[in-house]
Symmetry: C2
Subunit: 548 residues, 2 copies
């Protein structure tokens, strides 16, 4: 691997470590815990790992008995900046506990455990990856650990390698599965602990215990860098509206955080659209109104941030898609026989009145995509919709209608962007580098403490890193029962944007001003070597959430 | 304006200045110059500004007579990182010459000169914009200064404000127009000098005298940051081919520079495609072969860099587009009467054999776009073609055919990206901040030297900034005669990628290895505060060009 100058320089960085983790550690037991809801159901499903106490680690000068620990680590799901630091934190943590400890990485996600693909991660390998982005040290994958056969297959290699603990680094689903795995291994007295680490750039694995998931900070800073650059261009050329879609299908945390960082003219928060039961036309109209208002002042330019999952949060769109799925499933052959240029009229004629009107309002490309580009099960693929283009086109159509009515007399030209892959493997910010390393060190302490079914937890994150609080949270504590594929399942509650929370409320207090005026902020690229107030800041979301 | 932490920190940065510009300056006259070709024709068109000597500035301890200078500055064309530093360099330069000097900014490009829209740029305004990206201090625009009426209109405000010199910051076209303006004002004895500054992120304003245009360094570093992030994702998930289009229609310098920085699997250089007279199918086949070769080793992922102007460099595509334009111009009504789903067959049936086959090979969306989305003059709009999607789709089709023939047995999934606006207004790298500031200071010296029809020139750019050589180049020296809109015009010769030059030759020596193996480099974001070997490096292109 040829290293860039920055990689070489970052290789020398020592993550800032919470005081509690700098030497020997003692465990402080908290109160026994309950799941966030559905306590009886969760307790029944997790008889061996339910109700455990929260743990906190504190520094101690007492001698701690130590023996070598063998650990297996899995990276599960989409990449997030800082994964390599979790791994180097685990490595340094178990080596600090005992120099004969060993770390194995299972390759390409949970599949590596099931298929026994692994490699030992030695110091020379670890040193190549400290403070770098990506999950390429062992790769990642999306195989779900949900079947007993997988668990048993995994146990074979765990026993063969004398692994004491498995650490699963993943999002809400992966950590749910880790909890189920912990319960299973405990129930059969398998001598292996299972520990989770909270990863996701989407920011939706967050609760009272997990202040933020790792990667969110870096990814949103990368997106805000390029959005800021676009805004500066927008404000220099003064002739385009930029419609910018941001990764994050299941929640709008990324779009909200970027909005707080760059102060765009408009930012859409899907959770609000759903809560207010707004239609696609409502969304389009509100953007068009903002465009018209700025235009009247002579400003024919602006920026709109759009969460990737928007369409799936619009109740009327969900209803349309449900009816489309249902209708096409029962009339596939008939539909296929309709000549191409009559298909749209055919679909419009066969939908209920409300859905028909909505379908007719969609741009031709999107209407075609919904009916033609369906998945192997025949289902409409909402994720294929280029929401940024859909909105830009519908706003243009709306403004053209207003122009014809004499209600608007501006110019509207739109450009579209989508940022996702640009941020998932960025080099972690100092915050994520420190946070991830601390999560890894904490995971090592949890193993040393002998527990299973816990997630590594580092809290007090807006304070300087030395004051961060390290501990463990029983994963069952974050669970509730939800319907998935038709059956009730215990899952970690996903954190949507809290419409009563401080980050959203701050945004609400500012957005009228941002829409009308040009209040752009240009954050620029992540800096690693400058003053602390520039290089060590947590996300705006976290700062607002923890503000008094 | 709310400043980001980085903006605030960058406000404190003092650009590194060449030794020669640190105090009083004396002018060293070089030899009289000739245009690069068509000497007689250019000389005839520029009787007053042709054949002037090159100038170099040297430090002097002699007292220099000084009087206040009034300067007007215009930002012309697309944004490029560092424009604000050119302006702060001019400001500091003319203030150093005499504290009563004044700087006026004409607003929103050359239009501001013609329409008399301007503002005085005072110290408090200048200080807000030092070392920031964007052109928003005065805005930019694309109006071309080509008519005598514009020149005369401009002269009115120049006289009214007692402006001694006009500085036009722009690309090759804007600097060509600046030279024509200089000649015109000189020919009518108007008491105003005209000086150009070489700006363009595309990198195509480059020659023996202009080592690089400003903005190229920063923009390519921003693109390389996000491409590097995508490559790290690619190498972690190991399941996608990323097709990444990069801004730069008239030359492939950006794609080549990014390739040198990130070592992708494939990078296309349009100039090579044209020189070798390759077809679209040749390009698609060579990508598909690389995909198949990696696939055979188990690597179902990779990256392809594509210059924005590719399609216009493929001789066969140019021929197709010419015939389409011609045919549709003469059969518009007939074509419009063809039913939508028969249009493609209709077009295919009416083109010459070679063009018909090429048209038939295009994906449906592109074929439709070429015939339907024409500009107001009825011309095919090549720039609308999403080349990255076109190539991804055609590679998929080719691989599917090979699979059917049993020649290929891999998986191919592609994602596409386009980066342009993300880099044009980025905060300038130290290199661009220093280079632009020096260009501005040099422009002030050229005004002080009393010359007109010159471009500000700073050379020896791979040496430390203190050793850079500042001077002026007669713009006519860079000119030749080219056919534009049917008539021969004097223009600055555009610099395409030199296929015999060191940057391209280095790429050629490496590309087979990069295609087959995974040699990605991850440059990460631009750093401003770290060690010099990290923060002050010029582009790879410049380093290779100036290497012995």
């Amino acid at each position: 691997m040829i290293k860039s100058a920055l990689q070489a320089a970052r290789g020398q960085y020592s993550p800032k470590l919470p005081k509690a983790l700098r030497g020997s550690v003692k465990v402080v037991l908290g109160e026994a815990t309950q799941s966030v809801s559905d306590q009886e159901a969760i307790k029944e499903l997790f008889p061996n790992t339910y109700g455990l106490p929260k743990l906190t680690f504190e520094a101690t000068t007492e001698a701690v008995e130590a023996k070598p620990i063998n650990v297996g680590v899995i990276l599960s799901g989409g990449q997030a900046p800082g994964g390599h630091n979790v791994i180097s934190g685990i490595f340094d943590g178990i080596k600090a506990i005992h120099p004969d400890s060993k770390l194995y990485g299972f390759l390409m996600g949970p599949d590596g455990l099931v298929k026994h693909n692994y490699k030992e991660l030695t110091a020379d390998i670890i040193d190549e990856y400290r403070n770098t982005g990506g999950f390429d040290i062992i790769g990642s994958g999306r195989t779900k650990l949900e079947e007993i056969e997988q668990y048993d297959k995994g146990l074979e290699i765990i026993k063969k390698l004398s692994i004491n603990a498995l650490i699963i680094v993943g999002g809400d689903d992966s950590n749910t599965n880790a909890a189920v795995l912990a319960e299973y291994y405990k129930s059969i007295d398998a001598p292996v602990q299972v520990i989770g680490c909270p990863k996701t750039i989407d920011g939706d694995l967050k609760n009272e215990q997990i202040e933020t998931s790792f990667g969110f900070d870096t990814a949103t800073k990368v997106y805000s860098e390029v959005i800021g650059n676009i805004q500066r261009d927008c404000n220099s050329a003064r002739k385009y509206w930029h419609f910018i879609k941001l990764m994050g299908r299941s929640a709008s945390h990324i779009a909200l955080e970027c909005a707080l960082q760059v102060q765009p003219n408009i930012a859409i928060v899907s959770e609000e659209i759903e809560a207010k039961n707004l239609t696609l036309d409502d969304v389009v109209t509100s953007i068009a109104e903002a465009v018209a208002k700025r235009s009247a002042k002579g400003d024919q330019y602006g920026t709109v941030l759009i969460p990737e999952g928007l369409v799936e949060f619009i109740p009327a769109m969900k209803a349309l898609i449900a009816e489309l799925n249902d209708y096409l499933a029962h009339h596939e052959a008939e539909f296929r026989a309709v000549p191409a240029d009559e298909q749209r009229a055919y679909v419009t004629a066969h939908l209920s009145e409300a859905n028909s009107a909505l379908y007719a309002s969609l741009p031709a490309t999107v209407a075609r995509q919904l009916t033609l580009d369906r998945d192997p099960h025949g289902n409409v693929q909402v994720s294929l919709i280029e929401t940024e283009k859909l909105l830009a086109e519908m706003v243009a159509t709306k403004l053209a209608a207003w122009k014809a009515e004499g209600k608007y007399n501006g110019k509207f030209a739109a450009l579209t962007h989508f940022f996702g892959y640009e941020g998932r493997c960025a080099m972690p910010s100092n915050f994520d580098a420190d946070y991830c390393y601390a999560l890894g060190r904490t995971a090592a302490c949890l193993i040393s403490a002998g527990v299973t079914g816990y997630m590594s937890s580092v809290q007090n994150l807006t304070a300087p890193a030395e004051e961060w609080i390290a501990g463990g949270i029983p994963t069952t504590m974050m669970m509730n029962m939800e319907r998935r594929h038709g059956a009730m399942k215990p899952v970690i509650q996903k954190a949507l944007v809290d419409l009563n929370g401080k980050p959203f409320q701050y945004f609400v207090s500012k957005r009228a001003e941002w829409a009308e005026n040009t209040c752009y902020v240009y954050p620029g690229p992540i800096q690693y070597f400058g003053p602390s107030e520039l290089c060590d800041q947590p996300s705006e979301t976290l700062k607002l959430e923890q503000s008094k």
